[in-house]
Symmetry: C2
Subunit: 273 residues, 2 copies
């Protein structure tokens, strides 16, 4: 099916989901909106997150998307269910795929979740885990310092490792064998996090698992693109195109030319480049 | 949704899929038919595989199942598409989940597949891999000695290891980083296979991945059982209940009481215990 997959995020974090979809489904065409100008969504009131998210969705619906991926944990926790009920296309959030993958990976039924304060406070991961398996023991930890670390580009090296190790300390006396990276920024810290928690524990990246879930749903809805092509992706940002390009190129390992600036909000009705 | 998941297999191999669904979705109720009396399906003509598989499906439809899992590679390769088109409930085979999981796991885009002669000859895994990513390099190998090894209960120990290592020899000069266990018996040999190919290579068990795909589809079709219960599973076999019970209890690590004998075929219309 020759229509794009729409992906929305509060900023650049969702690019880790983009990267995984490009890797696992290389023929699929993507349209991405990052609401960089109003990022982060985490500290905003629920009603505002709902309004901003719907503004992005309304724009993508006009692009004739065949599926919507909400690549932001905060937005997923707030609006996923109502978006699923409203749209006629399949809608995928980043929380359930990570939770289901953790249930697959864990052998001792002890799972840990790290995320932003908003995501941890929403208990969305706990809800998804318990809905399927009430015997799971889950430990949650908010890691507010991780997103700034990633956004400063400091996701490697000894100092990042020290900071990550110190932050994860409260989890280290728990018996978890599986850790969910409950924020789309965290896959960039995967190496230092793995080092901090030990190699015998399993890391779940919601980006990787979301892409896998997208693959399942495209297939079962007969929506996979099955011909030959090199897809042409489109990226929109509500913020500075230059800083978006810089981060996207560093994270995706591919060159993004000219992301388009998009204006969202009640009176916005135009695209400009 | 308070209806069971139906699972069919040519014999006992599909019990590895049952075990994974029980583990990943512990509240879901299962109804299993193993056509043990007419196992294996692999060497049979396509038309016979089709007829036998539909006989099992017809029986399960009367059990009001909410989803069908074809837990047999041979039957999946032959009838999956026509079953998906015919039934109004979601239908999951064991081939696509394994292929999609391999595309997720591989980092160098070199994947190997092992299976019965029938499965390898059908090229069903290659078809699913290439449909999504044409840059994959895939190596297939039929391992006809593995199923008898498992059915004799010889899936551990030095002799099994030697036999497995010798069989996999033709793959060992290939650069694959991911190996698909393309037969539902093979997860029981996972430890010796992992030892034979080296710990740095990733093993994909179609049972594990099929259960994960079942989880996704139940959720997206609003079919997950979300209350509290300990489900009561039902097992049917067309062969000896005693040998079925023995293998099931050894493989599933749980006790199965009284599997029911079922008679399939044109003139069969009764269950007996």
């Amino acid at each position: 099916m020759n229509r794009p997959i729409g992906i929305i995020d509060s900023g650049v974090g969702g690019l880790t989901v983009v990267k995984e979809i490009q890797r696992q489904l290389p023929k699929e065409e993507l349209v991405y909106i990052g609401d960089t100008a109003r990022c982060p969504y985490g500290p905003r009131p629920v009603e505002e997150v709902r309004r901003f998210t719907w503004q992005m969705i309304d724009r993508l619906i006009h692009q004739n998307i065949k599926m919507l991926v909400i690549a932001c944990n905060t937005a997923t926790a707030v609006v996923l269910e109502e978006v699923r009920e409203t749209l006629s296309i399949p809608v995928v959030g980043v929380i359930r795929p990570g939770a289901a993958a953790a249930l697959k990976a864990t052998e001792n039924e002890h799972v840990a979740i790290i995320g932003t304060e908003g995501t941890i406070k929403s208990k969305a991961y706990l809800h998804e885990l318990y809905k399927i398996n009430e015997n799971i023991t889950a430990h949650s930890l908010a890691c507010p310092s991780f997103v700034p670390l990633v956004e400063r580009g400091e996701y490697e090296g000894f100092e990042s490792y020290q900071m990550v190790k110190r932050t994860l300390e409260p989890l280290m006396n728990k018996r978890f064998d599986t850790l969910i990276l409950g924020c789309t920024h965290y896959p960039l810290l995967a190496d230092v996090i793995q080092k901090a928690i030990g190699s015998e524990r399993f890391l779940i990246s919601s980006g990787t698992e979301t892409a896998r879930e997208v693959s399942t749903l495209l297939y079962h809805n007969d929506m996979l693109f099955t011909g030959n092509r090199t897809p042409c992706h489109t990226f929109y940002t509500t913020g500075s195109p230059n800083s978006f390009t810089m981060i996207a190129n560093r994270w995706l390992d591919t060159h993004i030319d000219h992301p388009l600036t998009i204006h969202l909000g009640e009176n916005a009705s135009f695209f400009s480049s």
